[in-house]
Amino acid sequence: MIKEIYAYREMIFSMVQKDLRGRYKGSFLGFLWTFINPLLQLLVYNLVFSIILRSGVDKYYLFLFVALIPWIFFSSAITGGSVSVIAQKDLVKKIYFPNEVIPISYVTSCFVNMLLGFVVVIGVVIYSGVHISPLALLCLPVVMIVEYFLALGIAMITSAVTVYFRDLEHILTIIAMAWMYITPVVYDIEICPTEYRWIMHINPMTSVIIAFRDILYYGRVPEMMTLLEAVVLGVVFLLIGCLVFRKLKRRFAEEL
């Protein structure tokens, strides 16, 4: 399967390109939205959590931002990804190609968007004056790839299941919102009462977000356990995603 998807790399590339180009097509600010959107979200969360619900965290804007950008990638990959196969139904019904290409392309284009967002993140990090050890910075790509695997695995499941069960698209927007609050994005995991901490730990995004924050906020290399947990979960979800997708794609052409 990997070999076949590799053969279709040009298709993935074209679809990502098309998606990125099409995303803000026709809007006045165009591509700038890639940067404006996270900045505005940051502004809102920052207002809420440093003025109204005071969190007491030092440099809260940075604390939030380094987690928010990866979270936006994850949540858009799983919610948007859920309709990605349906959106391409003309292709799926009419032409043979490994259908995995669709969620892969979608998640990849979200990922590219996140990388662009990181241009802003790096800017904010530099502005804040936080010192990041070079070794920690080396861990950053690893964490990103792990998150990519995780998002891809889940997007493969949601995109395939949504073909049979369209409500999932709407259910997912709620799930994504709830998920954000059981992930330490806007708060520190230490705030969470110990007896509920386990919920955080069965959540695969927790270790990813913690790792991002370790690197970019605390400027340190993430703990080995956190990193390992993230890698294992990422790979497991990707495998499950591939298996589910492979099983469900057999009837795509008939269901769509």
Partner: protein
């Protein structure tokens, strides 16, 4: 498995779920359980065949027989419920041409994207793009967005992309109807070339001639099973024979339907006429003499025109008129489709309106749709006398072997006086279609045989 076999299909079957009323939302699924009922409609029951490298096969059958489904299973857009399909090499399907086209992108960009859908890398596409553009003959327009293309240009571009990919197996569904005749011929030649290079080809088509020209074998799929296989010409003969029988059945039903509709309409008209007559009588009694005359005139005007119209739409003096023309097959069933060499009968109902001294002749002529008069005769020429007394009668025209070749035909019927003046001339009184399993051309099929001898 034989080493040369590149496509092997073993006992595949496929059912489609036909939802009676499908609800894909949770609410619908929970609230209306019965909406999720579906029927399994078997499309393919048990199909097996194998194709060797470099062979071309054709799949034929009527609509819904499962041939396109077979092709879809081969392309792996769908998967069989049971059975096994093995294919070796790169498969390219020319099924839905241009399905991946993006209207806002230019022709060139679409070539790249479309070729990518077939699994080509950028480098491979770079190597081919000029060939593709040249083949499509769209050099002038290639950098315009495809939404500005005509539908012919669109399919030409799509076909050019698909056919330029070096496939080991090429699957084609009814697409040789691309662009104008010249481009079609070009595509067809390219296909032959590709076959000669050793590509295996599977074609689904209603154009039996094309299959005969390019394929080594044909499979006739009927109701999910292979009914016959072998040399295309032989398979197609059986298939066409079946189709002819089937279409005759359908056409006979249609004639019956039309006939009962006509009778109902006639009845209604008669009733209306009777009512109108009654009304006018009533009017007569009620109204004063002066206005009653007028009323009579009015009602007269109301009834008469229909008859006048009938006559004026035709030629002739109307002293004798043709009421109805129907064509029957040897089983005495009214029909509009016949097989070449069928026995037929044409029944002509006429009504003699006024006595005249002259004898009349009934004439019948058959014209091909392009207007060529194929055959015409009349009772006067044949020395058959038609009774000229007032009243309705029926004249039958019988042919033992109607040997017209396939195509549409129309029938003209006329009643003439002995001196050549026309009583009634009904052009296109009846149209019918000829079908034939043979491929000869012309107007008639001549009863013939071939022989040869060598000179000593």
């Amino acid at each position: 498995m034989d080493k040369d076999v590149v496509i092997s299909v073993e006992n595949i079957s496929k059912k489609f779920r036909v939802y009676i009323d499908k609800g894909s939302q949770l609410k619908e699924r929970m609230l209306f359980k019965e909406r999720n009922r579906y029927e399994d409609r078997p499309v393919l029951k048990d199909i097996s065949f194998s194709v060797r490298k470099g062979e071309a096969i054709g799949l034929v059958g009527h609509n819904g027989c499962g041939k396109s489904t077979t092709l879809k299973l081969l392309t792996r857009i769908m998967y069989p419920d049971s059975g096994k399909i093995t294919m070796k090499g790169r498969v390219v399907a020319l099924i839905e041409l241009g399905a991946g086209f993006h209207p806002d992108m230019s022709g060139r960009e679409n070539i790249y994207f479309n070729a990518a859908i077939f699994g080509l890398s950028r480098k491979e596409i770079d190597d081919k793009v000029e060939d593709i553009i040249a083949f499509s003959e769209l050099e002038e327009f290639i950098d315009n967005p495809v939404r500005t293309y005509s539908s012919g240009m669109y399919t030409r571009l799509a076909f050019s992309v698909a056919i330029s990919i070096d496939a080991d197996i090429l699957l084609i569904d009814e697409i040789l109807a691309v662009g104008d005749a010249g481009f079609q011929a070009k595509c067809f030649n390219r296909l032959k070339q590709i076959k000669a290079q050793g590509t295996t080809i599977v074609i689904v088509s209603h154009s039996l001639g094309q299959i005969e020209e390019i394929c080594d074998r044909s499979y006739w799929i009927h109701e999910g099973l292979i009914k016959s296989e072998g040399k295309p010409v032989d398979v197609h003969e059986q298939y066409l024979d079946y189709i002819a029988d089937y279409r005759q059945e359908v056409a006979a039903k249609e004639v019956q339907r039309q006939e009962s509709k006509r009778i109902a309409a006639e009845k209604k008209a008669e009733e209306a006429e009777a009512e109108a007559a009654l009304n006018s009588e009533e009017n007569d009694q009620k109204e004063s003499t002066a206005s009653s005359e007028q009323a009579q005139d009015n009602s007269g005007e109301e009834i008469e025109p229909t008859a006048e119209e009938l006559v004026s739409a035709r030629k002739g003096d109307g002293t004798v008129i043709v009421k109805k023309v129907l064509m029957y097959n040897s089983n005495n069933v009214a029909q509009t489709i016949f097989k070449t060499d069928d026995k037929i009968r044409v029944d002509i109902d006429i009504e003699v309106k006024s006595d005249k001294e002259q004898a009349i002749g009934v004439a019948i002529g058959f014209l091909r749709l392009d207007g060529v008069l194929c055959y015409s005769t009349n009772t006067l020429i044949d020395g058959y006398t038609v009774d000229r007394s007032k009243g309705k009668k029926m004249i039958s025209f019988e042919v033992d072997k109607l040997s017209f070749l396939p195509g549409g035909y129309s029938t003209d019927v006329a009643i003439v006086n002995e001196d050549g003046s026309i009583c009634d001339y009904l052009s296109n009184a009846l149209s019918f279609e000829m079908i034939c399993k043979h491929h000869d051309s012309g107007v008639f099929r001549l009863n013939h045989s071939w022989r040869s001898s060598s000179e000593e």
